[in-house]
């Protein structure tokens, strides 16, 4: 007999009970992202409100946190200097380091693992790149030096991933060892704990590395970049929605797409305007968007595509959600884990290069402590909304969390606290991290928790 499963007509008479996936409305509202259900803008807003009440608040806490930090520091900093354009641009630039490190940490957190070595690996990556462009010295072109740093650190990450995945040792132990190892190697390659690698900005390849954070786009170029980004995002959103409608699938309402696009454009315009204000003196004008902002956007875009639109990303989420299910579905767990650790370390190396560019090559432990960097990276990711328990979070969350951490770190340094500043630079992010973890745990326990059974 032909057991052709596909040929049975759907309307075949059958008195069987249909399985209704509709839930009680409250539970559905809490768990189903509003944009996949809503057919109209009004319904979207109502659903969104329900979703937030249900404990699934997405990026809302980190945005509220940023507003709170801005208000508090504006009030308590001397001369209310926190929100000056020059300070805000400085915060953007400083935060990009934490953003990139948080994005690196995100992929490993999504697996339900942790990488405690990102800070030390990042600094080694930075030192590698800075050393390789030295003249006299290796004198490599800037791109080769950066590539070497990414590949070298990626290989170290792959090693950590291999030990974790193949020997089944908890990643926290493996990467703690990696952190200590790299911290030691760092002192050796720097030639002392207070060493540094200066760049000669008159040499082209060194100038590029220096400019990664210090270089500025002119305001005109800034506007052009913004226009290109917004247009690309708009076209992408529009085409995807159109394709879904063509296939008669639920697409987000056009009004919602327009509002989101307008928000992106507005935020981008605010940043460009802010960066275009002269923050130097009347004589030496300093204005323009730092290179590092579009660089971070590219990293964000790359990670977002990798995690949400490729098989690799899907498997990362699946392993974080239910490793056994992924294994039974034929996912090769060790390969995904090793690649994740490798990509995490490579991304961290980029963060380390930005760090060096930000501090003019000062890799000494006075300016950046690898232990503090990793704390900030994990804190940024978790504050942004990446779950410590795996399976939940996005690269964007790392970026938002990085901005919040950068704001706090810089705000504290503005306070002129003297001897109290160093402890506070640890205590405040630590407190924020604990707060974020509490939100993570409580939201899992509440109605919106993804791991509720």
């Amino acid at each position: 007999m032909s057991a052709d499963a596909g040929e049975i007509p759907a309307e075949k008479a059958d008195a069987g009970t249909a399985v209704d996936l509709t839930l009680d409305p409250a539970a559905a509202a809490a768990d189903v992202p509003a944009e996949i259900r809503a057919q109209s803008l009004g319904q979207y807003l109502r659903d969104l409100r329900q979703q937030i009440r249900g404990g699934n608040s997405g990026v809302l806490p980190v945005i509220l946190g940023m507003v709170l930090v801005a208000i508090v520091f504006e009030i308590i900093t001397p001369e209310h200097a926190f929100l000056r354009p020059s300070n805000l641009v400085y915060i953007f630039a400083l935060s990009t380091v934490y953003m990139v490190l948080a994005m690196a940490e995100t992929v490993v957190l999504l697996l339900g693992e942790i990488d405690l070595s990102v800070g030390a690996v990042a600094m080694i990556g930075g030192v590698i790149a800075f050393k390789l462009v030295q003249q006299p010295g290796p004198g490599w072109p800037w791109w080769a030096a950066i590539l070497a740093a990414l590949v070298g650190c990626g290989a170290f990450g792959a090693l950590q991933g291999t030990v974790t995945a193949q020997l089944k040792i908890p990643s926290f132990v493996v990467t703690l060892a990696g952190f200590l190892l790299c911290s030691g190697i760092l002192i050796v390659v720097l030639g002392g704990a207070d060493g540094n690698v200066n760049l000669n900005t008159s040499v082209a390849s060194q100038r590029v590395i220096y400019d990664l954070v210090q270089g500025l786009l002119t305001p005109v170029v800034g506007w052009i970049v913004l226009a290109v980004v917004v247009a690309a995002a708009g076209i992408n959103m529009w085409l995807r929605a159109a394709a879904r409608r063509r296939q008669r699938l639920v697409a987000p309402p056009a009004g919602l797409t327009a509002i989101r696009l307008a928000l992106v454009a507005l935020l981008g315009a605010a940043v460009v305007v802010l960066c275009s204000i002269n923050r130097g003196t009347l004589v030496v004008k300093v204005a323009g968007v730092p290179w590092v902002i579009p660089i971070v956007l590219v990293v964000l875009g790359g990670w977002t595509v990798l995690l949400s639109r490729t098989r690799f990303g899907r498997y990362v989420y699946a392993i974080g959600g239910n490793a056994e299910a992924a294994r039974r579905a034929g996912v090769r767990l060790p390969a995904i884990r090793i690649w994740s650790f490798a990509l995490c370390s490579a991304t961290a190396a980029l963060g380390g290069i930005l760090l060096g560019s930000f501090f003019f090559g000062e890799y000494s432990t006075n300016t950046a402590d690898p232990g503090q960097l990793v704390l900030y990276a994990v804190a940024a990711a978790v504050i942004g909304g990446v779950s410590l328990f795996g399976g939940r979070g996005k690269p964007l969350h790392g970026v938002l969390g990085g901005l919040l951490i950068g704001s706090i770190a810089y705000g504290v340094s503005l306070l002129n606290l003297g001897q109290y500043a160093p402890p506070l630079e640890y205590i405040l992010p630590g407190a924020v991290l604990i707060g974020a973890v509490l939100v993570d745990v409580l939201s899992r326990r509440g109605t919106g928790g993804v791991t509720r059974v």
């Binding site: 007999m1 499963a5 996936l21 539970a27 639920v250 239910n322 579905a329």
Partner: protein, 275 residues
């Protein structure tokens, strides 16, 4: 296909001598010194539900895993559609069209219904996930099984109840033009209403012409859906035949003692197509 006269109507049972879709003969399996299966024979005919019963430790799970490719039998032969096959991995099983719905469901809570149904077999378009085509296919499969999705098949599996999750797991198993579906304790964790929906779902799989094997402790469920019953006792197949040859008491006795009224199982005269 033109030969629709053979459409599975429930009447064309395999007792008439038709080769069963999946045939196991003399399956032995041991783990170290422990012999788990002794020369087990089992037929899974197309368009029929076979209920596999047995007490804890009787070897139900080992037998299931041998079919699903998670274990390899030490001896014995598995024939699929009349030709001998070697199932060395779950991928081999999937390639033949054998799918397993595990007791603990094997769904990732944080992924949505579509993502779970395609996990490990995602469709790509220009190197990226083709979400739209996967969503369409998943929706069609769910609706042919009459699993209606009023809200969205894009909701995370975490938001589903036990019966709904079971339905998704079953739909996942049948989406790949599968021919054999093994269900391990499909109703174990479910309430009355949800059990009903899952049993209906199993009947729908049979009506689609699939060979279904249900492993269950719950004899009510077994007698409700099974066309054939097979009983394992301490690694041996002690009884196998049409459900009509059994009643509750006999199944319980075979499960607990391997015999019924002190006598081994004897197939009814017309029951088996071959010796």
């Amino acid at each position: 296909m033109t030969e629709t006269s053979e459409a599975p109507s429930g009447a064309s049972r395999a007792e008439d001598g038709v080769e069963p879709l999946l045939k196991l003969r003399g399956i032995d399996k041991h783990f170290g010194p422990v012999q788990a299966l002794y020369g087990v024979n089992l037929d899974l005919p197309a368009g029929q539900v076979t209920g596999l019963c047995g007490d804890n430790g009787a070897g139900k799970s080992v037998l299931t895993r041998c079919i699903a490719g998670a274990h390899q039998p030490d001896h014995g032969q598995i024939s699929f559609e009349g030709r001998p096959v070697h199932i060395r991995s779950t991928r081999d099983a999937a390639a033949l069209g054998i799918e397993t719905v595990y007791q603990d469901l094997a769904l990732a809570d944080n992924l949505d219904i579509v993502q779970n149904m395609f996990l490990g077999r995602e469709r790509l378009r220009r190197g990226l996930l083709d979400e739209d085509s996967m969503e369409k296919q998943a929706g069609e499969t769910l609706s042919t099984l009459r699993v209606t999705t009023v809200r969205s098949i894009r909701q995370p599996v975490a938001s589903l109840s036990g019966g709904q999750r079971q339905a998704v797991a079953v739909a996942k198993a049948v989406m790949w033009n599968s021919k054999v579906v093994l269900l391990d304790e499909p109703t174990a964790a479910l309430g009355v209403v949800q059990t009903r929906t899952v049993l209906d779902l199993i009947e729908r799989l049979r009506d689609r012409g699939l060979a279904v094997m249900v492993i269950s402790h719950n004899l009510n469920d077994v007698f409700e859906v099974a066309d054939r019953i097979a009983v394992l006792y301490l690694g041996r197949m002690v009884a196998e035949g049409p459900a009509a040859d059994f009643d509750r008491q006999s199944v319980v006795e075979y499960m607990t003692t391997g015999t019924f009224s002190g006598r081994p199982f004897e197939p009814a005269a017309s029951a088996t197509g071959e010796a």
